[in-house]
Amino acid sequence: MSEDRDDTPWQQRALDNLWLLIAISVVVPGILYLGWGLWELAELPTWGGR
């Protein structure tokens, strides 16, 4: 198993790593779409309570 891994290029191993892909799928839109969007909405006086 470990020998197989050694022969595999790191790029392919990264693409095969489902947990890494899941993390990317959550982090990228979580920051750029949700986090940034919620921050902008929080800045609105009507939503932020100011």
């Binding site: 693409l15 799928s25 750029l32 939503w47």
Partner: protein, 596 residues
């Protein structure tokens, strides 16, 4: 304890050579049956909604009930049931693996169905005419939200089950190396679903708490931000699953393999990372979000996901071309395409689906994601035309195509009425082409979406925005397209239904179909078509070509340098179409708000 140690019952498929776990087979079929029932219901609602436009008597109240159910049935239930089936199929049969927890999967199917029935009950009884988006302050019966949440949790459990199957398959060494590309595409769909379902749970959870009085109010802007995580994300689950199905159909129908598997995997990675950001194109007219957020997401980052689609747009036809050229169809740029197995329902569905999705759905989607262009068609029937092009002429047609192979292989029954199956993709595809193009044109003319009375007869002030122009004729075309498409849907359900009821049981259920897939099929020539050596005995060896420099080069050498020249021409045509559509859209924009 006994069930934990007893090996799962399996069989070896005589057609593909795969080891088939019977639990996975039954669970895939169970979800497919549920999907087909939803397709029948959604199609029935579609024809009623379309005929209302041509005078079918129907109260506005009922029109909204039917529209709400049509949207949920087709966008959520039909597609997600089918995709759950595809996840089980891919993670067991394509990996020679087993379902890790079949009882959980059956309980999951029951939970999803209970949720679906609750939501349908609420919509049909007029307790949830909030449409697919369910924007607050519109409020539905609490059980509507419970139903949708139950269904969504069921899909989430199915995704987790998919990952568990893959991990166990890897541990039990039922496959070696990387996941096959089709399974990898399905994994991308499941990964995309995780984020989508998470945001959907927050959005619908807030509405549920509000509907039972535990939450005083739901902020509309906040809700819309969370909702489009699933509203848009669910369609990207369809996208990734559809592309995976396309690769499977290429393998089934022409025995093709990806021309560059690594590049196709990178394209799926781009979907995983960036496709969710396209959700902002639903929020381009929302006042709460800043311009930087909207444009950065839709006009910069999303293009990385568009790049992924462009990679697939080259890789898919190139895979077909290379496979066909290997069969001997090497003459000129397009013999490989002309000599394609057009009588095979899987092949015609595959090609029509790719063309519609690329030329219509993809291009209009990118146009709508451009902030300025979005202003021209926002909330018109153009939007409806776009997503019918994606999920009907794209995803649904692809799913129909692969069903012609999955159903015989999973049920071990021969397909009934293959002649009907042969024509079905053309009828369905022709209908949805008229339907979607009509909707796009109607939207350009200003026809609104989600309005029962297009003539505003009950409005206190007369409104005549579009009735005097060509729009009524275009709307007639939309209705005609719907009738033709539903006819194609009936043909599909007839073939599948009769196969399930009366199909002859067989250990070789591929008889009558061309399945260029698996060890047995690879040993024989497709019925009625020459083998590679018969078609072009000298292909790649005996024909020499004079180059402009006077050198003589063997044909094989020529193709080695450029394996898919026909595809290259096709993608240039696609690029030209993209540019023309962009120019036309900007021309429309310039005429909407004259400057000076």
């Amino acid at each position: 304890m006994a069930t934990a140690t007893t090996p799962a019952p399996t069989r070896t498929c005589n057609v593909t050579g795969f080891v088939v776990d019977r639990n996975g087979q039954r669970l895939a079929l169970g979800n497919i049956y549920a999907a087909f029932l939803m397709l029948a219901l959604g199609g029935t609602l579609a024809i009623l909604i379309a005929l209302q436009r041509q005078g079918l008597p129907m109260s506005d109240d009922w029109w909204y009930r039917l529209l709400a159910s049509h949207g949920a049935t087709m966008l959520l239930f039909w597609l997600l049931y089918f995709e759950v089936a595809a996840l089980y199929w891919g993670s067991t049969m394509l990996l020679n693996a087993r379902m890790v927890a079949p009882r959980v999967a059956w309980a999951n199917l029951v939970m999803m169905s209970v949720g679906m029935l609750l939501a349908q009950w609420a919509m049909f009884t007029g307790r949830a005419t909030v449409m697919f988006t369910a924007y607050p302050p519109l409020t539905a019966h609490p059980l509507y939200y419970v139903g949708v949440l139950l269904f969504a949790v069921g899909v989430l459990v199915a995704c987790i089950h998919f990952f568990a199957n893959v991990v166990v398959a890897k541990r039990e060494r039922t496959y070696e190396g990387s996941l096959p590309l089709v399974v990898y595409g399905l994994a991308a769909a499941a990964i995309i679903a995780l984020y989508a379902l998470g945001t959907g749970a927050v959005a619908y959870g807030m509405l549920f708490l509000h509907s039972i009085g535990l939450m005083e109010s739901v902020d509309p802007a906040q809700y819309r931000l969370f909702f489009w995580g699933i509203g848009h994300g669910a369609q990207q689950v369809n996208l990734a699953a559809m592309v995976a199905v396309w690769y499977a159909l290429i393998a089934f129908t022409v025995g093709g393999r990806p021309v560059n598997e690594g590049l196709s995997r990178i394209a799926f990675l781009l979907y995983i990372a960036f496709i969710h950001l396209g959700a902002v194109h639903h929020l381009l007219v929302d006042p709460g979000l800043g311009t930087s957020h909207r444009i950065m997401n839709t006009s910069y980052m999303l293009y990385l996901a568009v790049l992924a689609s462009l990679i697939h747009a080259f890789s898919l036809p190139a895979s077909i071309e290379v496979a066909q050229r290997e069969r001997g169809f090497t003459h000129g740029l397009f013999q490989w395409l002309r000599k394609g197995p057009w009588r095979e329902p899987g092949f015609s569905a595959l090609v029509l689906s790719i063309v519609y999705f690329g030329f219509i759905a993809g291009v209009t989607g990118v146009l709508m994601g451009t902030m300025q262009l979005n202003m021209v068609i926002h909330n018109t029937l153009f939007v409806v035309g776009h997503f019918h092009a994606t999920v009907v002429s794209g995803t649904t047609l692809a799913f129909m195509g692969i069903s012609y192979y999955l159903i015989p292989l999973l049920t071990e029954r021969r397909l009934v009425a293959p002649r009907v199956a042969r024509w079905q993709p053309y009828v369905f595809g022709g209908g949805v082409a008229v339907l979607t193009l009509g909707m796009l044109l109607a939207g350009q003319l200003g026809v609104p979406r989600r309005v029962a009375d297009l003539e505003y007869a009950a409005a206190p002030i007369g409104v005549d925005l579009w009735a005097a122009g060509p729009a009524p004729l275009v709307m007639l075309a939309v209705s005609i397209g719907a009738v033709i498409a539903v006819t194609g849907g009936i043909m599909f359900l007839y073939v599948i239904g009769m196969t399930l009821l009366k199909g002859e049981r067989s250990e070789t259920p591929d008889e009558g179909l061309r399945i260029a897939f698996g060890p047995r099929a690879r040993l024989r020539a497709p019925v009625g078509e020459p083998t590679a050596s018969e078609a072009a005995p000298d292909a790649g060896t005996g024909v020499d070509v004079e180059t402009e420099h006077g050198h003589v080069t063997g044909l094989r050498e020529r193709w080695r340098r450029f394996e898919a020249p026909g595809t290259y021409v096709l993608v240039l045509v696609f690029l030209a179409w993209f540019v023309v559509m962009y120019l036309v859209a900007h021309l429309n924009l310039s005429q909407s708000w004259p400057v000076g």
